[in-house]
Amino acid sequence: MMEVVVNSSEQFIINTDKDSVSDYSLKVASHSKSAVIFTVEGSNRATFNLNVKVEDSADFTLLVINHNNEELEINEKYDLFGYSNSVIAHAELNGFNTVVNSEYNLKEQGAFLQVQTASLTAGKVKFNQNCVHEAGNTEAHINNYGVVLAHGLCDLVVKNTIVKGAHGSSTHQTSRLLTYDKSAVGKILPILYIYDNDVAASHAASLGQPDNDQLYYLQSRGLTYGEALKLIVIGYLLPITQVINDEELENRLKEEIEMKVSEGCSM
């Protein structure tokens, strides 16, 4: 287990060729502002376990980029304390099987969470997300955007719970999957468990192939069908770049998304 106290920006490389199981525990210091990037790379089946405690009034951004060329399981748990602000992003663009099990606990009043995932799936990707508002006046936004390529499968199970007594909390989830063709499979299961009255909760989900009217619109300006489709697919995945408050990293991720879409959409 690697234990790290975070109070500034840090980058970690998880090399699956060295360790098949990696355990990290992060403590994000109170009132600090920090951004952490985990890049998973290598060519072995692996498990990455991550425990994060975000202390009160901390401003925290975490990005996990999966470049592993084999199956990966990620188990992550976040405990978010009073008036902390956390943005958690996952970029799943590698085309291999991945399971991400996420637990988000908003433990004290004022905790804010935004989750943003982008997945380009050629294999099988599953997100199991469980967000629990344990205290009042907490807020969570979980946004999953994915494109499922031919013969791929993407499965999203998103559960938001507001416990009894967590007055004034709001919890929202949006899941959107674009299936590339008829052989691509997308599944979305949105779940809301609400045990208090004075709250706001919503879910939105959409699943389907690219919109013909959008494709026609782009084609009518001279883009071929393939070019129009790529633009729409990139558009599905780019929102993740907007949550990263680092221009260099944002551009790097944007370039990676464009490159992966070019590779994936010409398959």
Binding site: Q219, R221, L223
Partner: protein
């Protein structure tokens, strides 16, 4: 500009015939006003010329010069110089205007445009149509007002410089000042390129700003009357009633599709749209 020649065009949507034998010739520099009651095939004609897959041509031909338009894909039609400013431009979340417009400009060029050159061209065009400079970085038409969407259509038209532009109710959603800006830009492009145009509008005010050389009335999927700008003025003043009597026509009513809606929040939203 090549001449657009449409002969005996029959078009169906989901096995319902909408156009029932349209003939139309648009020569370079001609501006054709296309009028007619709602649901009689005006937008269908424009969308078919541009190649929307929903519209099936069952009979007839469309030639642009010596090119058989019906054998061309949508993007090939654009590259050949055809352009449609749509009545309801699509919103494409995640795709910035800037990325889309650059891709569109490059699709019409042999060599990709240099980034600096493109930015300068885009900034200038955005200013000319009176939009805010941040539109370039916003997602394509997402969250745009009706007027902004229409101005964005004009930005695209100015960047692509078509030989034949089809404007489908471009004036709807525009206030008086915006209408003038849009019309000035269309007129400038018309003068520069000797562009042909087909304009669908219900309002003489727009035809006063972009003066048509020809006018046609489309009823029940056929052009039943052709003339010049005076015809558009007469229809604006007197409506279609005189024409319907003169031609002894029975106007087929537009079908209103009603969907069964179940109760619940999504149904409430659907009801809101339907109303």
């Amino acid at each position: 500009m090549p001449t657009l020649k449409i002969e005996n065009l029959h078009v169906s949507v989901e096995n319902k015939e909408i156009l029932k034998g349209v003939d139309l010739v648009v020569n370079p520099g001609e501006i054709h006003a296309l009028m007619g009651p709602n649901g009689n095939g005006k937008s269908t004609l424009l969308m078919t010329i541009m190649g929307h897959p929903k519209y099936t041509v069952t009979e007839g031909s469309i030639y642009f010069g010596d090119q058989n338009v019906l054998e061309m894909s949508v993007d090939q039609r654009s590259k050949a110089g055809l352009f449609i400013a749509m009545q309801n431009p699509q919103e494409v979340p995640g795709v910035t205007n800037s990325d889309f417009l650059k891709a569109a400009v490059n699709a019409h060029r042999d060599e990709p445009i240099k980034l600096f050159q493109f930015i300068r061209l885009l900034d200038k065009t955005i200013e000319e149509v009176g939009m805010k400079s941040d539109m370039a970085h916003r997602f394509l038409n997402e969250g745009f007002s009706g007027g902004e969407k229409k101005r964005n259509e004009i930005i695209q038209m100015k960047l692509l410089k078509p030989s034949l532009a089809m404007l489908d109710e471009l004036d709807s959603g525009l206030d008086v000042d915006a209408l003038k800006v849009v019309a000035d830009n269309v007129n400038e492009l018309y003068r520069e390129n000797n562009m042909g145009m087909i304009i669908v509008s219900h309002y003489e005010r727009f035809y006063e700003l972009i003066k048509p050389t020809h006018a046609h009335v489309l009823v029940n999927g056929r052009i039943v009357k052709s003339g010049d700008h005076e015809l558009a003025k007469k229809i604006d003043a007197e409506g279609y009633e005189w024409l319907i009597k003169e031609q002894n026509l029975v106007v087929e009513q537009e079908e209103v599709v009603k969907r069964a809606i179940s109760l619940g929040s999504c149904a409430a939203n659907q009801r809101g749209k339907a109303e």
